[in-house]
Symmetry: C3
Subunit: 354 residues, 3 copies
């Protein structure tokens, strides 16, 4: 992974970040590092002044910090500080500057099998044992790693990365700067059957999948093709590993979905929704912008999930979920109280009769 | 995916469906479509008369409907109607007629590596970068897409489709018309170890897997080989994406299992069982015919699941699950009631003493 | 899977196991089998004397049993018995002796693409359509099956087995005798982003993954690379299929994790922990040695899980979980009791007034 360049001075980095620095602006930074392992030539970050108080030594050449004075007092030996309200964000941007993604020169490995009618830009990298089908188009700067299989009539935009073993079925559309990790499968048939006495007949799975710009899909994530129409993953959306997206789902822009979540058919997830890991969605659900759904939650078919934080199986507002659980934890005590009430009532009645 | 043929007239389709039509039987139908996007030359469907009432325009050339009169009144511009009690089923059958699965001519790509002792029917399609092991047999009409790896002594029946990147370990048996989506793994070692002071010793995983006719497995679904004996997926059974089937499971015929469900070792699932997504099964469970298990349910090891609808962790009959949850939702109110009872009792006691 | 050798006599097996035998030590054993299907030439086992009582016939040539006398009385026709306190463990060891893993002769398939600077031991087996990157080293006796993709600067130890379709990203370290089942992905980017107004920026994912000796990973299991630093799977640890291990996790030695469990970033799991299937872990959790976590459990971010058996969402000690659930099952009855108390109290009050 050492695809680092020649490094940048602290002054150059601060300028690129549109931030200020204090200390020696001419120190050269080669790499990003975490606080503990940072050494000379590296830049680290602390997110808060409070976190800064817990750091007593740091061998980094530069620290990104929310407060210059506090940083300087805690760590007088660090030669330079970049100051910004969002240190983690700045650190991510510095990492992108110092460590650009692995670059592949334009190349087509001789073992790749590319259909005559495929239209591959001359700047594309194609690794060993790749297959590309008829009528497929791949645009400039895209990198297709070993063992990727791409069907017929697929369109892949610019500057994408398809990691090893990705499979794209026929008729899929992929935007620009999309990253598909190893084993991603896009366009397998949706899970739709119609039953009669003989067993199951396949409901037609003839639609397509559209993956918009700047999407990243984790290893082994599967996005099924639509029955009719399309399955869509919106611009800038990020899915973790082993996520399942069913047929005809419409997932908006800048949505985040953690690992192993499963989404049944025809679910709509609006822009900017955040979803934890191992969540399950029944079909025909609509999740509105502003909703956050906690890990392991379950959403019943047909539900509308409004803005707010949701939790549990089936989902409830997090506050209610916590309140109800606190009440439920008192049930053993309640049983004792009921027993005691009974006893006292009996006593009262007995005394009365006496 | 446009592998459509020359189309059929409405009269021809009605005859193939053993249904009646009203209107113009000579209209030619080329493709299936959903109601909203249907245009000339397409056939759509409505499942119920009620659904029909909500449709106000339809540009399809033919509509499959449960009632000719109602359909005609709602949509007088549609030139023809096919009438049947099960429109969705008829639609699925029409789709299969109009859009037969992608056909591959018999072919062996020169990059495929096929063992000398493998026995491959002359009508088989074998894509690029496929490997086939010693003693393996593949029967007529089967299609093996790019990057599939098949071990030694595997037997694959007629007219199967193995999508890209499928892995079959040694000694697996696959029936006829089986569809394995991208990344399916069949025959990896079951998860069985014996512990001693030194750590874990592998319990032998020397059995096999049998996949019967007309099974379809979703992308990245894994079916482990038996420890001893066999793991079986019965005829006509359909599994969604990312399902895990442990060693020595016996899954019956026409079983449906939704995405991300996990089944531990030695579980028996009888014919016609329906299982939702993200369900978990402990080992040595028996699920009887007639059982339906809701999504996200958990079944404890060794259980027998009787016919009926089951829900929850651990599973309960759906009715009981709902009833108990309704009661639990009243616990906060119950706490108030207990408090009030205490207050009243205290008052009563006090009055008594006075 | 018939990679059996010439067989061993009962006397030889008993000596290798450091156990005793009774009966005919010269009987030759060729294979392991389960009790029901065992025939001449095979060895089976019973784990307990109680289990032995339920066996009435056995055609095995040798039975491994915890008690020679009881075994002989139950099954007088079996010619030989090996006696040991841990029959299942002995059976696993016998299986390893009689059925050594499939052996591949040193070989490099001509379709494999191996970088000039890769350093591959002469005893390695490399199957068809494999890719190996620059600076990667593979040590003696390792077997790399068809379609495996290995990145740059990877180090793979001795006697490993990489099943078909495994992907190792750049800079990964794999110990000795590691088994990676089909579709395992090691080193994909961790799921870390920083949000600003524009959307998500990738947090740097520049760390690595270390898989120690004797680890086995199930089909399609994914282990993400660290953001900074390393993700580690300790010596002798076994993961089932479709497990997700997030960035910077530190998983100890001899840990067992069942299928479809998901582990968020920066989780520490200490040695000898046992984890069921479909468990979910939030980030920054520490699971201490001696903990056992039941299937489908959920652990909240930041928790420390102490030794003991844990269950539920969120996890509780199994005893408490059971006790609370028993109490909760009584809630309907409690509602009736409260109603009755109210009635009696009312009556009491009414009588008093009268």
């Amino acid at each position: 992974m050492d695809n680092s360049g020649q490094g940048k001075t602290v002054a150059e980095l601060a300028e690129l970040l549109e931030s200020v620095f204090v200390g020696d602006g001419q120190v050269v930074i080669q790499l990003v590092a975490d606080l503990e392992s940072a050494g000379p030539g590296s830049v680290a970050f602390v997110e808060t002044v409070k976190a800064l108080e817990e750091v007593h030594t740091c061998a980094a050449s530069c620290l990104i910090s929310p407060d210059a004075e506090a940083a300087r007092q805690s760590l007088p030996d660090v030669p330079a500080f970049i100051v910004t309200a969002q240190p983690k964000l700045a650190f991510a941007k510095v990492a992108a500057i110092l460590h650009p993604p692995k670059k592949r020169e334009p190349f087509v490995h001789q073992s790749a099998v590319i259909a005559q009618t495929a239209d591959i830009d001359l700047t594309v990298f194609i690794g060993p044992h790749v297959s590309i089908g008829e009528g497929t188009r791949v645009e400039a700067g895209t990198r297709i790693e070993a063992g990727v299989v791409i069907g017929d009539n697929v369109r892949i935009g610019r500057d994408c990365v398809l990691h090893p073993g990705v499979t794209l079925y026929d008729d899929i559309t992929i935007g620009d700067r999309v990253v598909l990790h190893a084993g991603v499968v896009i366009g397998a048939d949706g899970f739709g059957y119609v039953r009669d006495d003989m067993g199951y007949h396949k409901f037609p799975q003839r639609g397509t999948v559209v993956i918009e710009d700047d999407v990243e899909l984790g290893a082994h994530t599967c996005v099924d093709r639509a029955a009719l129409g399309q399955t869509r993953i919106g611009r800038g959306t990020k899915l973790d590993n082993l996520v399942h997206v069913g047929h005809n789902c419409d997932i908006g822009e800048r949505v985040v979905i953690a690992a192993q979540t499963g989404i049944s058919g025809s679910v709509t997830i609006e822009d900017d929704v955040v979803i934890g890991g191992q969540v399950g969605f029944g079909d025909h659900i609509r999740v509105m912008s502003g909703a956050v759904i906690g890990s392991k939650a379950g959403v019943l078919p047909g539900k509308i999930v409004r803005p707010g934080v949701w939790w549990g199986i089936p989902i409830q507002p997090l506050d209610e979920y916590k309140r109800l659980n606190a009440h439920l934890a008192r049930v053993p005590e309640m049983r004792e109280e009921i027993k005691e009430l009974k006893r006292q009532l009996e006593e009262l009645k007995k005394n009365r009769i006496d």
